[in-house]
Subunit: 265 residues, 2 copies
């Protein structure tokens, strides 16, 4: 574990944290931390904290929390990433796949450092969630959240990836995105108006939020593509094979991150 | 299925093929092809063939094989990739991970279009294969081969990905690679001599073979990095988080492919 991800209830004002059950066991039994041991904490805004193990009980443990000086990153129990530069702000809109695939996508996208993940119901999704009253992720949310937590703790990612509560209907994406920046959707066939990914990214101001939409196993329909284009979103077809949805998500995400951090300097 | 991958025993001289058991059932029961239906075949050299279903038996079926004209690609049962350009020649050297992860890497690397995959035994591999007499993949080979076959058939990849029989010791990589082109190893910390990936790739002649080595869950040791550098291989640290081995493989592969097909035109 490179860092401990603090619960979303942490406001920055607490001086001590009580961890129970699994969380406590992970620190004391799996990582075998002792009283006095320190670890790096990261809150949901991305800020880092110094955590010190103060007391170990039977099913709980107590940590003290203090602000972390710039020179104290070595309290991480494992090496943090050497790279300390900025990360492109990437927002993933992912059409729902079958259960386990969603978890893989969430875990890998978090590792890489995506800012927000929102699941989308589209025409060719294998499972139809649109009949559900509340259109929330329901019981799957907890499993996805635990994938995010584990990925942040293991990768040392400085980006506290956020999972949207709601499953969006594809039609609702423009409202949800609200013109925050560049919106790209990846498609397996060429569209009439199309630029290459490097061209699209080269025009961006630094720190512009970038959204990417990945279709489900069945891709996006022509009507959906036309709707997205009418909403001002940009189609991109990459020069390669037709990838499965979970491979496409990581491929596109890797590509955007690398083009922005490596190629354009 | 976008194309049917012909068995490695196919030489191009056979006029008919007899498929049995699972293979036959897949075409006749799952895809429900009827006598007279045609499909696209691809052999292990990457060449395409026109296959026609001639006869359906109880546990087998017979296909006729004929050369495919340029205008006949529409015989594919599903759309082929729109992209018809060249693919960078990428060779993946992957340090062995735990069982299922190897399968995921092989499947995704094949989808993307890697030319050859060779597994490597390195110091921090969780499982030690070096004591094994024959250093072959053994029973895992069959599972990995079936991942490759399925990935080629589903992605429509024109690259007939090859899996090396042997598990290489890291020390044997230079002999195996034999200076065929650029060899890059990805590392999570900066090394003394280091260029960025776009810099390294920008110097290449088209069609130069590129090898990439990805460490196991534990990464590469300092000694291993020094050995690889002494062998003329180039270290690359990407500007991002520390990724799990299976994420790193797909991240690096996507990145190399995109930088060569998209960014440098």
């Amino acid at each position: 574990m490179r860092q401990y991800l603090l619960d979303s209830s942490f406001t920055g004002e607490q001086k001590t944290l009580i961890l129970t059950d699994k969380e406590s066991q992970y620190l004391t039994k799996v990582l075998r931390l002792k009283v006095g041991d320190r670890l790096l904490g990261r809150d949901r805004t991305g800020k880092t904290w110094l955590l010190t193990l103060e007391q170990i009980g039977k099913n709980n443990c107590i940590l003290s929390v203090s602000p972390l000086g710039e020179d104290q990153v070595e309290v991480a129990t494992d090496n943090l990433p050497s790279y300390k530069g900025s990360y492109p702000r990437i927002f993933l809109y992912q059409c729902l796949c079958k259960g386990k695939k969603n978890e893989t996508i969430v875990r890998q996208a978090t590792e890489i450092g995506v800012e927000e993940i929102t699941f989308v119901q589209s025409k060719f999704c294998v499972k139809d969630y649109s009949h559900k009253k509340d259109s929330s992720l329901g019981p799957q949310k907890e499993r996805l959240e635990s994938q995010i937590k584990e990925a942040i703790q293991q990768s040392g990612s400085p980006i506290p990836t956020h999972l949207s509560e709601e499953i969006l209907d594809l039609d609702d994406i423009p409202r949800h995105w609200d013109n925050k920046g560049l919106f790209i959707f990846f498609h397996q066939n060429a569209r009439a108006q199309q630029q290459s990914l490097p061209q699209l990214l080269s025009t961006l101001q630094p720190d512009t939020p970038i959204a990417m939409l990945i279709g489900s196993e069945g891709g996006l329909s022509d009507d959906e593509c036309a709707f997205l284009e009418d909403s001002g979103f940009r189609a991109v077809m990459l020069k390669g094979n037709i990838l499965r949805s979970e491979t496409a998500a990581i491929y596109a995400l890797s590509t955007i991150q690398v083009l922005l951090t490596e190629a354009q300097k």
